[in-house]
Symmetry: C3
Subunit: 273 residues, 3 copies
C-alpha cells in the first residue's frame, strides 16, 4: 500500500539537497517539511559537495539555471552518485531553450539519475528531441489522454528502460514508470496549473520519498505523485468563496502536511499497467 | 471599457518572460497566472534569447540586479525589441544606488521600452536625475497629490513623449500616461505598501495586458493598474480579525484571480486627462 | 519593558539592508514590513555600498551563499561598520559545509558584528569549531534544555564577551546574551520548525530592532526573539481544522503585523540571568 511509503518518509525525516529555481524554492522547502522531510538549498559549486554529503538525496531543478548553478548540479550530482543517493531531475523548460535542453540531456548522460519528473513536453524533448514545450507548460498537443494512453505507457516504460531511471510524466493523467511497470494515476485538479510550482514541489517531495523507500522506489515515486494530486483535490474541496490560486497554493501545502497513510490509501486513484 | 482588455488577457493567455528579483518572484508568477497569463523566468544571458523568443512580452525588474543578470536584461531586451514584443521596465530602487540608476538609464536608452512602471521617486530619478528614493519606497516629498496633480500629469506626459514609452507612476494616486493622454487612477489601499512586491506584481501583470492588447496599449496599461488597485480594495474588504499583511498578500492575488470585466468596469476609479 | 522597543521600531521605520538566501527572502521582507521596518535586498558587490549607506542596519544571512554574494557581504559589512550601523550575522548551516563555516568565521573576524543569531549547532560551530549541524537544523544532541541551562547561559555570555557581539541562540529555549547578562526566553512553539525560515525572519526583524534601539540593544534583541516566539503562539492558537504549516506561516507574519507593546509585555516569557 502506498501509505507505507508515506509513513516511511515521516519516520526517516530525509534531508534533501535541492538545487532549484528561485521562483518556487520557498514552496519546495515548505512542502518538504510538510511531507516529513527536511530541505537544504545550495547551488554554489564550492558548497555542494559538503552539503550533499550530509543529505540523503538530491533534487536537481533547472527552472532558473545559470552557468554557475549548472556547474553546481554536475559537482553535486557526481558526489551524490558516488554516495549512492537517489537523484531526481526536474527538466523545467527542456525544449524551450537550447541551454535547458542540452543541460538536461547532459545531466541524464553523466549522472546516475533515479527519477526524471516533468510534463509530457519536457519528457518528450529528452526522449525524442521533439515535444513542443510552451514555456514551462506542456503543449496541449502532447497531452497524455485516455485515447493515447497505451502508446504513452509504452513510451514511458521504454524511456525508463533506456535511462535506467523512473520516468514520471505529470499532467491530467500522470504516468510513473520503470522499464517493467507503469502507474497510471488520475488524482489532481486542473486548477493546480494555475499555481506556479506544483511540479517543482512534487519533484522535491519525490526525492524525499525515494530516500525513505530504497527498496520500493517505483511505488514511492508513484505515492509522491498521488499525494500531490490528492492534496490538490482535498485543498480544492476546502476552498471558500472569494479564494483563488494564492489560497489554493496554501491549502495544498496544508493538505500535504495533514496527509496520513489512511487518507492516501483511500484517495489514491491509480492502476498498475 | 477597461473590462475588454481584461478579457483579452484571459483569451490570449500571454506568455511573459520575466527577468526579475528573487524577493517577489513567486508572487509575480502567481499574479501572472491569476490574471490569465503564463510566466517564465530566465536571467542567464545564454538562456534568455531562446526564452524571450517563445514569449509574447518581456518584464525587466532591477530589484536584485547582478552583473550577470544585467547582461541578461540587455541580451533579452535586444531580442524582444527585434521581435516587436512589448517590454516593461520596473526600475526598482533607481536613485538608491548608482548601479541601479545607471542600469535603468542605459536600459531606457538602448531598448525600445513599451512602458516604465515605478514609484514617483524612481520615475523622477530617471526623468530628472533627482528624486530621493528611500530604499525601494518613494519619498513622501515626491508624492503625487491632489495639489500637484496638474504638474505631475504634465510631467508624466512629457516624460512619456521623450521616452516614447507609457509612463506609469504608482502611489496613492496613479498616473498612466503617453505623450497625449494621462489616466489618473484612484484605486488601491495604503495598506498595500505593507506587502513587499505589489509594484513588481503590477509590472508583470502590465506586461501581460500589453501583450494581449496591442491596439490599445495605454488603456491596457491603465487597466492593469486599476486591476491591482481594485484587487487591493476587494481584498481589504474581506480581511478577517487577526489577519495582517501576509493574509492581505494572499487575498490580493485571489482577488486578481477572480476579477472579471464587469467587476473591473464597475470598480475602476479613473479620469482621463 | 520590551514593549518600548517594539514601539521604537514602529516609530523609526528602520530601513534594513538584507543579503540573504533566496529560499526565505520574501518572508524576511514581509516580516520586516510587519514589524514596522522596511526591507531592501542587494547582494551584488557593485551595488551594496550605496544601498547599505541609505539603510540603518545590515542583515547578513549565508543560507544560499555564492562566491559573488560572499564578496558582497564583506563589501557591505565593511561599509556598514564604517557607518556604525548594527550588523546581524545569521550563520545558516555553519558546520554543515566548510565554505559556510569558514565564511561565517571570517565575517566574525573582519566585521564589527552587533549580533549573531543561529541555532545551537551553528553557534557551537562558530565558538568551538564543533557542533553537529544537521543541514540547516540544530542537532538534538546540542539542544539547550532545562538540565544544561546554567552551562549554556555561561557559554553564551562567554562567547558574547569574546566576540563583543550579542549572541542569540534560538530553539526550544532561547538565549540572548551579552558578556554580562542573558535573557532566557521560553516563548514559541515546536511547530515553528515545520516552516522554513522562521530563523531567517527573526534575524531580519532583530536587525530592525537593533537599529531602532541603539541605547538598549540587548533588550531589543531579546524583544525581537520574544515577538517571534509569541507570534508563533498566537498564530498557533488561531489555527483552523485542516490547516498546516503553510497557513501557520501566514498566521505568524500576521501576528507580527498585529503585535503591540501591551501584547508583547503580557506575553513575553523570559527571565534575566
Amino acid at each position: 500500500m502506498l501509505g507505507n511509503t508515506l509513513e516511511a518518509v515521516r519516520n526517516c525525516v530525509p534531508l534533501v539537497h535541492n538545487i532549484t529555481n528561485y521562483v518556487t524554492v520557498n514552496d519546495v522547502a515548505n512542502v518538504l517539511l510538510a511531507c516529513g522531510g527536511s530541505p537544504i538549498m545550495s547551488a554554489e559549486p564550492d558548497d555542494v559537495v559538503d552539503i550533499t554529503s550530509i543529505c540523503g538525496g538530491l533534487n536537481i531543478n533547472i527552472g532558473t539555471l545559470t552557468r554557475r548553478s549548472i556547474e553546481g548540479m554536475f559537482v553535486a550530482g557526481t558526489k551524490a552518485g558516488e554516495l549512492g543517493h537517489p537523484i531526481v531531475l526536474d527538466p523545467v523548460g527542456a525544449g524551450a531553450s537550447a541551454l535547458r535542453t542540452s543541460t538536461a540531456l547532459e545531466l541524464m548522460e553523466k549522472l546516475p539519475l533515479t527519477a526524471i519528473r516533468g510534463n509530457v513536453s519536457e519528457i518528450k524533448t529528452l526522449a525524442l528531441g521533439s515535444g513542443t514545450t510552451k514555456g514551462v507548460d506542456a503543449d496541449v498537443a502532447d497531452a497524455v489522454t485516455e485515447d493515447n494512453l497505451d502508446t504513452m505507457v509504452a513510451f514511458a516504460k521504454d524511456f525508463a528502460k533506456k535511462t535506467d531511471a523512473i520516468i514520471a510524466i505529470t499532467g491530467a493523467i500522470d504516468l510513473v514508470a520503470d522499464g517493467e511497470h507503469c502507474y497510471v494515476i488520475r488524482n489532481g485538479r486542473p486548477e493546480m496549473s494555475k499555481i506556479t510550482g506544483t511540479g517543482c514541489q512534487l519533484s522535491g517531495m519525490m526525492t524525499a520519498y525515494l530516500v525513505a523507500n530504497p527498496d520500493n522506489r517505483l511505488e514511492a515515486a508513484a505515492a509522491a505523485v498521488c499525494v500531490m494530486g490528492l492534496a490538490g483535490e482535498i485543498a480544492w474541496a476546502s476552498m471558500q468563496p472569494g479564494e483563488g490560486n494564492a489560497s489554493y497554493r496554501i491549502r495544498i501545502i496544508d493538505a500535504i502536511y495533514n496527509m496520513d497513510a489512511e487518507t492516501l490509501n483511500k484517495g489514491a486513484n491509480y492502476e498498475l499497467r
